[in-house]
């Protein structure tokens, strides 16, 4: 795609030379290998889609049908498709309340990281204080610390503070581990804001807080969007942290489903639709905000 675009853009002398030299035989082999490439990519694309399609169809079949035959049999008998499993799932109080918990954990954890990270990012980018760059490097060095390192210490700390098993505890943990990336991303973005803009606002009499909310935050939009999406998905999709820090009442959907995995096969009618429901929001975010999603995931992958 880029290749053709690039070539159409400017025809260089070498290009014309190449075209002239290509015999028709070479062009046919080119066509053939082009067909081979298309076939290969088509196959790979199918290969990548099949597992997800399998889950979707499995979630739309009755458990009796699932125990009898593979999900692909549905193509022979489309009448097997039913929303029963979904209906049953949404009547299941544990599952619905765990979905609510997922939202209650994810939304605050995302907003807090964006706000606190922006404040710190702005300070690191545009304020002066001793050791600024060293502090910043210190924060960035925490970027690769595995969450596993903190599980046991924080479990004991939360136990003492009465936060263990609470939604607030899970939120705090996610904020703590979201901040290094947030500060890193936002500081770098804010640092690129043209100095003149800030000075002009300053001359108009804006104070530090006003400068931050009226100039820096709006200009930081793209970076904040990427960060927000990354953090949102990170927390939404997390299982490990919630597995350690939640109790039965505060479990998010990932943990609620995880408890069902042990009887895999017997409760596919809970697992398949449950997994699919938990995927719907991330997939919607993915398709709606592809650009920001890619930037965020790319930048945050070290986490």
């Amino acid at each position: 795609m880029t290749a053709t675009a690039g070539r159409i853009g400017k025809v260089t002398p070498t290009d014309t030379a190449v075209r002239a030299r290509q015999s028709w035989a070479a062009r046919i082999t080119g066509r053939l290998s082009g067909g081979l490439v298309r076939f290969f990519l088509l196959l790979v694309g199918l290969f990548w889609l099949v597992p997800t399609i399998g889950l979707l169809i499995s979630s739309l079949r009755a458990p009796e049908d699932m125990s009898m035959s593979g999900w692909w049999q549905v193509f022979a008998k489309p009448s097997q498709l039913t929303f029963d499993s979904y209906q049953k799932l949404l009547e299941n109080g544990d599952i619905t309340s765990s979905l609510v918990n997922t939202v209650l954990i994810t939304v605050p954890a995302t907003i807090l990281v964006v706000v606190i990270g922006s404040l710190a990012g702005y300070a690191f980018a545009w304020m002066e204080f001793p050791g600024r760059d060293w502090w910043f490097l210190g924060v960035v060095s925490l970027l690769v610390v595995p969450v596993q390192v903190a599980l046991i210490p924080i479990a004991e700390l939360f136990g003492k503070l009465g936060l263990f098993g609470t939604i607030l505890g899970v939120i705090l943990f996610h904020v703590g581990f979201g901040l290094p990336f947030a500060v890193f991303l936002l500081r770098n973005f804010f640092a690129e804001i043209p100095r003149e803009l800030l000075e002009a606002a300053r001359l108009d009499g804006a104070g530090e807080l006003r400068l931050f909310t009226r100039v820096v935050m709006p200009l930081g939009g793209p970076a904040i969007a990427s960060l927000g999406i990354f953090q949102f998905l990170w927390v939404w999709n997390d299982m490990l942290v919630a597995l350690v820090f939640t109790k039965s009442g505060s479990q998010p959907i990932t943990v609620a489903l995880q408890t069902q995995v042990r009887q895999f096969g017997n409760n596919i009618d809970v697992l398949a639709p449950g997994a699919f429901i938990s995927m719907v929001i991330p997939l919607a975010v993915f398709f709606a905000f592809q650009r920001q999603f890619v930037t965020g995931v790319m930048a945050g992958a070290v986490k």
Partner: protein
């Protein structure tokens, strides 16, 4: 890391020599802006690091100094050793396979018009949780070829190339002329030209009969040939049907292989027709007839993906499914920066596509590839959910990785000391990357 900077920060004009505060900030204001972040980081990230290091030198209950005992456990405890071994497999294979696939996809998608759609499909798994991916692959790897798509495809391919046997449970009935022989069955008496042979068996379920099976027919005598019938000598209902000869309701064993054996050597062989009849040449005269074991093997049931031997590669496969898209997108971004003129120049010089790829594209992309591999290596060290979900209880010990073992030791087995030692070990493994990050950023920050 380099990617992080490249993707995260917009390419702006070179920043002015120093970004002095435009507001002449008072330090208290700066402190207020920083305080929430620093407090949270201190309490939730820095403090746990220190705590883990200290805790790793104490015993399980935390009241006695244990010296290096917990670290010794890293190399003596069976569970941890399996985990270490598996982590090495993970770190070697998962990042390299993902990156190699990402590279291939990135290069090839440039040549098709629907490259963007393809990238979308391969990148999509990055959006979903490892739990959901785990459930997805638990379904894919189901042992039963009628349920798990991996085995369905595998068995399908296998049966195309190797004939599957049709009569797994067949065995001789009462007063049968056949006796067991090396997994198959053989006649007790030699057969002769002109005397039709009967080879009855029982025990094949009706729905397992081969598609070509027709009503069994008693073979007629043929001069100079050994003829006979092999069929299911069983009719439902007591007293119905005659033992030892084909009744109208009894199906022939279509496709059954028959060998004539003389002194242990196969002298002739044939395959039964739809009605169970078969014909052997005169050379079979005086031989024993054998139904060889290959007729009665259990049908091929596919690969035990989640069994002890294959569970780690299987889980790595699901990881590659999730992360190859990440490698692909990063590499594609790097590829967009490769000057097209260089590739064209190589082609003009007579290089074929493979040579262009191997000698020009890959070397130019080397820095990007290195970043992708290192990023994935760090990521792989922390893999937990996939193993926890995909590996069934029976083979979870065989699929163990450090992150999972840390969780088990810390929260299931009441060994926080050993778990802390694992945590410190994981941290040590990422420290080189941490230092690399700091060095690279120090240059950028000091502009």
């Amino acid at each position: 890391m380099a990617s992080a900077a490249a993707a995260g920060a917009p390419p702006g004009p070179a920043a002015p020599k120093s970004r002095k505060s435009v507001t002449g900030t008072r330090r208290t204001v700066a402190a207020l802006f920083l305080l929430p972040a620093l407090v949270l980081l201190g309490a939730l990230v820095v403090y746990p690091i220190g705590y883990s290091v200290v805790r790793s030198f104490y015993n399980a209950s935390g009241d006695g100094f244990a010296g290096l005992d917990n670290y010794k456990a890293l190399f003596t405890d069976d569970g941890i050793r399996t985990a270490l071994k598996n982590n090495i497999i993970w770190v070697v294979f998962a990042p390299t396979v993902s990156t190699a696939l990402g590279l291939i996809f990135a290069v090839l998608t440039e040549r098709v018009r629907w490259g963007t759609a393809f990238k979308l499909v391969v990148f999509m798994p990055m959006a979903i949780s490892m739990l959901a991916a785990g459930i997805i692959f638990r379904l894919v790897y189901d042992q039963d070829p009628d349920k798990g798509v991996a085995n369905a495809v595998w068995v399908g391919v296998h049966d195309t190339f190797a004939q599957s046997s049709a009569f797994p449970k067949a065995h001789p009935g009462r007063d049968s002329p056949l006796k067991a022989d090396a997994g198959g069955f053989i006649t007790s008496a030699p057969v002769h030209v002109g005397q039709p042979v009967t080879l009855p068996l029982v025990g094949v379920a009706p729905d397992q009969m081969p598609d070509g099976a027709k009503k069994a027919v008693a073979a007629g005598a043929e001069p100079g040939k050994v003829t006979g019938t092999t069929w299911q000598d069983f009719t439902r209902g007591k007293g119905v049907g005659k033992l030892g000869s084909p009744d109208p309701s009894e199906p022939g064993y279509a496709g059954m292989r028959i060998e004539a054996v003389k002194d242990g050597k196969v002298v002739a062989s044939a395959e039964a027709a739809g009605d169970g009849t078969f014909t052997l040449p005169a050379s079979a005269d005086g031989a024993l007839l054998r139904l060889p074991a290959s007729n009665f093997k259990e049908p091929y049931n596919g690969v035990d993906w989640l069994g002890p031997a294959l569970v780690t590669p299987a889980v790595i496969g699901s990881y590659v499914w999730m992360w190859a898209g990440f490698a692909m997108v990063l590499i594609a971004a790097g590829l967009a920066g490769v000057p097209r003129e260089l590739l064209e120049a190589a082609r003009v010089d007579g290089a074929n596509e493979w040579q262009v790829f191997r000698r020009v594209t890959v070397p130019l992309l080397a820095p990007v590839l290195a970043v992708v591999v290192v990023t994935l290596m760090i990521n792989v060290l922390k893999v937990f959910d996939l193993v926890y979900i995909i590996a069934p209880g029976s083979s979870q010990d065989d699929a163990n990785v450090l992150a999972l073992e840390l969780y088990r030791k810390g929260f299931a087995e009441g060994q926080p000391g050993i778990a802390s030692a694992i945590a410190v070990f994981l941290l040590l493994l990422v420290i080189p990357v941490m230092l690399f990050n700091i060095r690279r950023l120090r240059r950028e920050v000091r502009r």
